[in-house]
Symmetry: C2
Subunit: 233 residues, 2 copies
DNA sequence: GCCGCACACCTAGTATGCAAGCGTGCCCCC
DNA sequence: GGGGGCACGCTTGCATACTAGGTGTGCGGC
């Protein structure tokens, strides 16, 4: 019985190589939960579904394994990683370490243009909130954190945090459709932004750390709600 | 004119897949400077030199590009990245952020067995110092930092730091043959270890941060000595 | 009816072949 | 003699073919 819903859309041709497009498409499908944890993937099936050969699919999967999003078992198959409490804790640790270090720097060197950009992002988040547009809010949330890291002068912090963040993103996606959380998160963004604007590294770090830990507070309820997505360990 | 010294040894067969062995061999050759910055690599040459096909070579190179150790230019070639001041700063930032966060945790939860292990590593470093064995010291230095991260409960910190660390490792390799630095580094390891043993997160973080920044103090002299290894920017 | 073995299918790993693009060097023209 | 243009060879990117190994299934024996 072939899997029923392997419809993964590739972005427009010619933007980046095939490998990058396949990676993006797969990662998006994974974090959005369209490829549910535990499912078996096959290079052949993915290649056919995406209309490309096995080679770029394979290379994308290898990269996703580095992200701990899939597990490749030789001669057996490739599986969507179940959400592991340990992996979530690791992702949280990495993200806190990198982003908190970044924001301390950002608070010391942020310019007016960057502050305006951050404020604009938060304003757009208000709009998304008003329109109950979860997907848009998600994009803007990433944009906010990315802009913060960029302001630190070490944009790499965001690249690494995002790649290490797979398990956490899936949890967030599951938790997001609770409207009140969106409002809380925007408030926290404002608190972070104010501290950065005040050039107060300690307060900025504290606000960001609190913000980043919010997601953990709902982890257990998510797990109770979707136990099949989690590994036992 | 074919490159003269593409003799890269592969580790024993059957340990990990071919891709992993090729990656390890190439990375080792890169950080050791046997493949000097700016050099052009060719998938074909590497595959021939290593006695494997292009496929695992290609996948290893893609991963090394993620590490910023090589630059792949389509239809042109793959080049050993020159050491970039910006990339060194990024690597330093990432390593500081991850390891300092890890050691704070480690100071709060380290067990006696782990302390003994750390002490044993430092003792071995003394031996390497006495024997002027730079390579051995290098391995033991990595082991010390890895053990610290493991003691934090987030071994992933070491994995990520090490992967992001390519540019920094090359600098360290160039700077290492100065014997007095080895003694200083061991002293700093001791200071870090004492603070962890005393369960003092603040002092541990401070000692580690100071230790990690030592390498930067010699960066400019290294650059003056080997300008051909560095990018202009 | 149940347990064990063997076969067939499917998997990822690897090797090789083909296509497209860029750089370089030679050759022709001015 | 100098400059412009074309063609060749090299590169990586992608597609395809082949290999080795593991799993599950179905059949045969008990």
């Amino acid at each position: 019985m072939p899997p029923p819903d392997l419809r993964i859309a590739l972005a427009d041709r010619a933007r980046g190589g095939t490998r990058q497009r396949v990676y993006d498409a797969l990662r998006d499908a994974l974090v959005a939960g369209r490829l549910e944890p535990g499912r078996r993937l096959s290079e052949n099936e993915l290649a056919e579904a995406l209309g490309v050969s096995r080679t770029p699919v394979r290379e994308a999967l290898v990269r996703l394994r580095d992200d701990r999003m899939v597990e490749i078992v030789p001669q057996l198959g490739t599986f969507v990683s179940k959400i592991s409490i340990g992996a979530v804790a690791d992702a949280q640790f990495v993200r806190e370490a990198l982003e908190c270090a970044a924001i301390r720097l950002a608070a010391g060197r942020v310019g007016d243009a960057e502050l305006l950009q951050l404020q604009a992002i938060v304003a757009q988040q208000d709009e998304a909130h008003a329109g109950h547009d979860f997907d848009r809010f998600f994009v803007l949330d990433d944009a906010f954190h990315e802009a913060l890291c960029e302001a630190s002068g070490h944009g790499i912090a965001w690249s690494l945090a995002q790649r290490a963040d797979g398990h956490l993103v899936r949890v967030r996606r599951l938790s997001l459709p609770v409207p009140e959380y969106m409002g809380e998160m925007i408030d926290e963004h404002r608190a972070v932004l104010e501290a950065v604007a005040a050039r107060d590294p300690d307060r900025a770090e504290e606000a960001l750390r609190h913000h980043l830990r919010m997601v953990l507070s709902v982890l257990e309820s998510i797990r109770a709600e979707h136990p099949e997505f989690f590994a036992e360990a």
